[in-house]
């Protein structure tokens, strides 16, 4: 299974599972990052530790430590 962090730029994906613990999980849920949502990586910063994702019409940046705990499936 691919993690959100491995999803190539501009490749839309469907979230399968969110493994993040504790407080951040709530924040992710608030932003619409939950099972079944579609998400698409748009930008990556120079140090490769942060990427911005299009989710429900908003651009949200996550660190790799968070996005690698989110499982996705590529949308074809």
């Amino acid at each position: 299974m691919k993690t959100l962090h491995d999803l190539p730029i501009a490749q839309e994906g469907i979230i399968q599972e969110v493994h993040n613990p504790g407080t951040i999980k709530r924040r992710l849920l608030d932003l619409g990052i939950l099972k079944g949502s579609s998400i698409c990586p748009m930008l990556e910063n120079a140090t490769h530790d942060m990427r911005a994702y299009m989710i429900k019409g908003a651009l949200i940046a996550l660190r790799s430590s968070e996005s690698s705990l989110i499982e996705v499936e590529e949308r074809r």
Binding site: N20, T23, I24, K25, R26, R27, L28, L29, D30, L31, G32, L34, K35, M42, L43, E44, N45, A46, T47, H48, D49, M50, A52, M54, K56, G57, A58, L59, I60, A61, L62, R63, S65, E66
Partner: protein
């Protein structure tokens, strides 16, 4: 008997109409960065600062607006994505809506991403049925070809919906009408906003049955009393009637949910249903045509967050702002300076004609007037240029991109990427930067940001740096090169400050504030065309004049005080000379002199007055009485033993020394501890001393 009954009834009637006469209370909530503050400001006429990045409202603001002869109060609550979570802002907002009993809850939504905003609407509706939904940023939505059927939305939700474009002043009449309408009508709907998973519903029903307090929203209380993350005592405390019965019911309900194995997923179950409902509603009343709407922003984003050019563009943008500030400030500074010079003669003559004593004349003219004149002439032009430029950048939505670019460095320092935002706020004023640190959730990372905010020079220090740079380092260059060289030097000083921010954050993360970086999310808002006119007016009147006013209110007494120090003599030596010669040996070690160090110490209330104090102290040494421009000031400094090493050390010390008094008080307020406040003074002071001493010693070794 009858009479007392009458009074009772009368009081009841009064109670009923009281709200009508006094107006009503409107609580304003919404996701971060949806234009809440703009709505608030336009309605109430207050000038709360707004900007295009999430988390501007860090404390509660309240204002009033008049509608139909009623004076209504409006409370601006912190921006939050949800009312479920346990962050400070969300708790403040939730408790306010739940316990304070406001008359109407106005939920401001971003029409361009309604689905996400709908979560908050539904959660608010679970607490109260007096909700008005404000669809803000309709202009942007229309540009992105998002069509919303607000009548249908009204019907689906059962609340008033108003389309608005707050920035363009569209929709305010309708909004006021809707609020008044919601106050007037009695909505008794207590239907479930969202229907949850069956087992959960059974548990909720059980608690609802045990709650016999009719004045509360039972369903919401049941939801919160079940929530494992919520401080239940807050809710029990509000209950009338048999609390024990409720506690037992809650205990049983939790036990049952645990047996069914779903209690550990409580919040997920709640959010899942909320999101589903939100999507359901939005799907029914929105027509999307969003295939390309992010294209334009994406083009800009690809450039400004480019892996190679991103950081360079950031530095270049900063440099351009500095360059415009430096070259634009020269002429008005000179004009102001001349004007103050002319006025000084007039003032002096006037004081002589009304025959005030000489010492009073001197204290007023040479002390108070000269200091204040310097502060205005040298500080006002750069501030009046820098603030609007920076505000434009902020309005445009660029600042979160800086955070995105720099996150790697902050992560290495085990700090929060949002620290870049508080750092940027520090350019305006460190006190503002420090209170802005509330946007950082983790307490450890918030402390890092607070303790290092002072490493970016605020607007009170820029002009000092600019003045020294133009006096000592660019004299040999002709225009326009001198402006460019000044800019480069100033930019390097700022970059040094930013580098120190990283180093010190990293050092603190490994020592006093040990820990791992916590998770956070950073929203990159859509770019918005800055509102030029508004930005200029707002930043000049709100920020520039405010900061200048504070500087002047310090400069006036400081001017008098320093004049006294420079003129009261003990054993034929002025007090000032006594103090500065006492400080001198230590100051020399730092490449400064006693007067400079004293000026920094006396400049504690406001950094703006450091240079005028120096000038006055030097002038009392008798070298010079008048100076009209920076080159004459340079002569004065040279005559007092300044070299370029002194200039470098003064600039470095200006960048790296204790925070000003206002900032210190803000740090105390934000951290709630003197320990951290003292540390925030010690850290930059010690580093500043080390850096200056190092530069001074090196230059001595090399006989420079």
């Amino acid at each position: 008997m009858l009479f007392s009954k009458l009074i009772e009834v009368n009081e009841e009637i009064n109670e009923l109409y009281k709200n009508e006469e006094e107006g009503y209370t409107v609580a304003l909530i919404g996701n971060p960065n949806v234009g809440k503050s703009t709505v608030f400001n336009t309605l109430t006429g207050m000038k709360q600062h707004t900007g295009n990045w999430p988390g501007k409202t860090v404390s509660l603001a309240s204002g009033t607006y008049v509608f139909q002869n009623k004076n209504n109060e409006m409370i601006d609550l912190p921006g939050t994505y949800s009312l479920l979570a346990h962050s400070k802002e969300e708790e403040v907002t939730r408790n306010y809506i739940c316990f304070e009993k406001c008359d109407v809850c106005l939920v401001v939504c971003d029409a361009t991403c309604l689905e996400r905003n709908m979560n908050l609407v539904l959660q608010t509706m679970e607490i109260t049925n007096r909700v008005v939904l404000c669809l803000n940023l309709m202009d942007e939505a229309e540009r992105k070809e998002i069509h919303i059927d607000e009548k249908k939305l009204e019907k689906l939700l059962g609340v008033d919906v108003v389309k608005m474009s707050a920035r363009n002043h569209i929709g305010f009449e309708e909004l006021k009408q809707a609020i008044a309408h919601t106050v007037r009508i009695q909505r008794f709907h207590t239907h479930e906003i969202v229907t949850y998973e069956p087992h959960l519903e059974a548990a909720l029903k059980k608690i609802e049955a045990a709650l016999c307090d009719e004045s509360i929203n039972k369903r919401f209380y049941a939801l919160k009393l079940l929530d494992p993350q919520v401080d239940k005592e807050d809710y029990y405390h509000q209950l009338n009637g048999d609390r024990e019965k409720v506690r037992i019911a809650v205990g049983e309900a939790i036990e049952e949910l645990e047996e069914q194995g779903i209690y550990e997923h409580y919040e997920e179950l709640i959010v899942k249903e909320l999101s589903k409902k939100a999507k359901d509603i939005v799907d029914k009343c929105i027509m999307f045509n969003n295939a390309h709407y992010y294209e334009r922003d994406l083009k800009i984003d690809r450039i400004v967050t480019h892996k190679i050019y991103g950081v360079l563009i950031m530095i270049a943008l900063l440099s351009v702002i500095f360059w415009i500030t430096i070259s634009g400030a020269n002429i008005p500074s000179q004009i102001l300076s001349d004007a103050f010079g002319t006025m000084e003669g007039v003032l002096s003559n006037f004081l002589h004609t009304i025959k005030v004593s000489d010492w009073l004349h001197d204290i007023l003219v040479l002390g108070v007037y000269k200091t204040t004149g310097w502060v205005v002439a040298v500080m006002l032009p750069p501030m009046a240029i820098f603030f609007p430029l920076f505000t434009l950048l902020e309005d445009f939505g660029y600042l979160p991109r800086i955070a995105f670019n720099l996150d790697g460095y902050f992560q290495k320092a085990k700090a929060c990427g949002k620290q870049a935002l508080t750092m940027c706020m520090g350019f305006g004023c460190n006190a503002v930067g420090v209170s802005g640190c509330r946007i950082i959730d983790s307490p450890r990372e918030r402390l890092l940001a607070i303790l290092t905010n002072n490493f970016v020079p605020c607007n009170g220090r820029f002009p000092t740096l600019i003045a020294i740079i133009s006096m000592f380092f660019t004299g040999m260059f002709l225009a326009p090169w001198n402006g460019i060289v000044s800019t480069l030097i100033l930019t390097s000083v700022i970059l040094l400050g930013i580098w120190l921010t990283f180093r010190v954050s990293s050092l603190l993360s490994r020592t006093l504030l040990k820990g791992v970086p916590s998770s956070f999310t950073l929203e990159l808002p859509p770019y918005r065309k800055p509102q030029f006119g508004k930005v200029i007016v707002r930043s000049v009147f709100d920020r520039t004049l405010f900061v200048l006013g504070r500087a002047i209110s310090v400069a006036v007494p400081a001017g008098a005080f320093i004049w006294l120090l420079a003129n009261v003599q003990i054993q034929d030596v002025t007090l000032l000379a006594h103090i500065s010669s006492f400080l001198d040996p230590f100051a020399q070690l730092l490449g400064l002199d006693g007067v400079i160090l004293l000026a920094f110490i006396l400049g504690f209330p406001a950094n703006e007055i450091v240079v005028p104090i120096m000038i006055m102290a030097y002038m009392s040494n008798g070298y010079m009485i008048e100076f009209e421009n920076l080159m004459e000031l340079k002569e004065l400094l040279l005559a007092n033993g300044w070299t370029w090493v002194t200039a470098v050390c003064t600039m470095l010390f200006s960048l790296i020394h204790w925070p000003c008094a206002t900032t210190c008080l803000t740090i105390r307020k934000e951290t709630g501890s003197w320990k951290w406040t003292i540390l925030s003074i010690l850290i930059p002071t010690v580093i500043g001393c080390i850096v200056c001493a190092f530069v001074a010693a090196t230059s001595r070794l090399l006989f420079l």
